[in-house]
Subunit: 139 residues, 2 copies
DNA sequence: GCTTGACTTAGACATTGTCCATTGTAGGAT
DNA sequence: ATCCTACAATGGACAATGTCTAAGTCAAGC
């Protein structure tokens, strides 16, 4: 079930109840929770887990490259466990729903040398914005 | 000098000293200040301008479509006066420097229908990340 | 079953942004 | 030129998100 948990264990992570819960909460496709949402769900399984621990644990997972930080809106970072398949995001401007997408083309190749200003360009994020079917129907 | 100021005046904006200062601070190319940076520079010209006014004024300019909100890092929104030529951003992962870039290609066309999940896709943001020449030299 | 260093906790603190009631003022009307 | 009035600015409280620290707790190796 939890591939994420397995990978973390394989890296010699000290396995605590708190970390297990955070990893379990984050597992899946199209999962993009904020730190607070992760905390809320973690609390429902492990009532005494603290906010600081959730933030720490998420931060460590990001450092290990097992989870991606995404910021599709300005309110809070979101955490995406799907770190091993490169992908971009499609965000509903109204309700904030997020889907992972895999566009054709390679944006990195589209940035000409004379537009790089001498930077060593290492990555690119693409965020598509629109209205999801749900919000379009309700509107 | 200030095209931005001219455009705003043309929209029937009530012109106050505060708004003038904010518009002047924001004018130029490759300008991507945070609200607090705008406030700091505005204060040096108009000591009694308040934070709330800067936030309000920036928000209004964004609503009018004369200024873009950019969030290249998670710390604070940045404001980009270059709203009338579509462009994307190249960000230094170390020092946060930002350049406007104009990549070839059209990312919107690269998103296949079966990856749109029924969304009405209206826009796309592309953020390139790398290390700027300055930081590369110091490293 | 100990020991130890890493992990967790609670809460104070920092940063960024928003709101509201009050005061001030730009720009049209007189 | 002066007055009015709606719109703008002020400042300070508040909210949301995230970070830090000191003290207590526990997983994992011996």
């Amino acid at each position: 079930m939890s591939d994420l948990l397995e990978r973390l264990r394989g890296r010699g992570w000290r396995m605590t109840a708190q970390r297990r819960v955070v990893a379990e909460v984050l597992d899946g496709d199209h999962v993009h929770l904020t730190a607070d949402e992760v905390h809320a769900r973690a609390v429902s399984r492990l009532p005494e887990i603290s906010r600081a621990t959730v933030y720490n644990t998420l931060g460590e997972m990001v450092s290990l490259g097992e989870v991606l930080e995404v910021s599709t809106d300005r309110r809070a970072k979101r955490y995406d466990p799907n770190a091993h398949r490169p992908h971009h995001h499609l965000v509903c401007a109204q309700c904030g729903a997020i889907r992972d997408v895999h566009p054709a083309g390679n944006p990195l190749a589209d940035l000409p040398t004379d537009e790089r200003y001498g930077f060593m360009v290492s990555g690119v994020e693409v965020t598509y914005r629109g209205i999801c079917p749900n919000c379009a129907a309700t509107a």
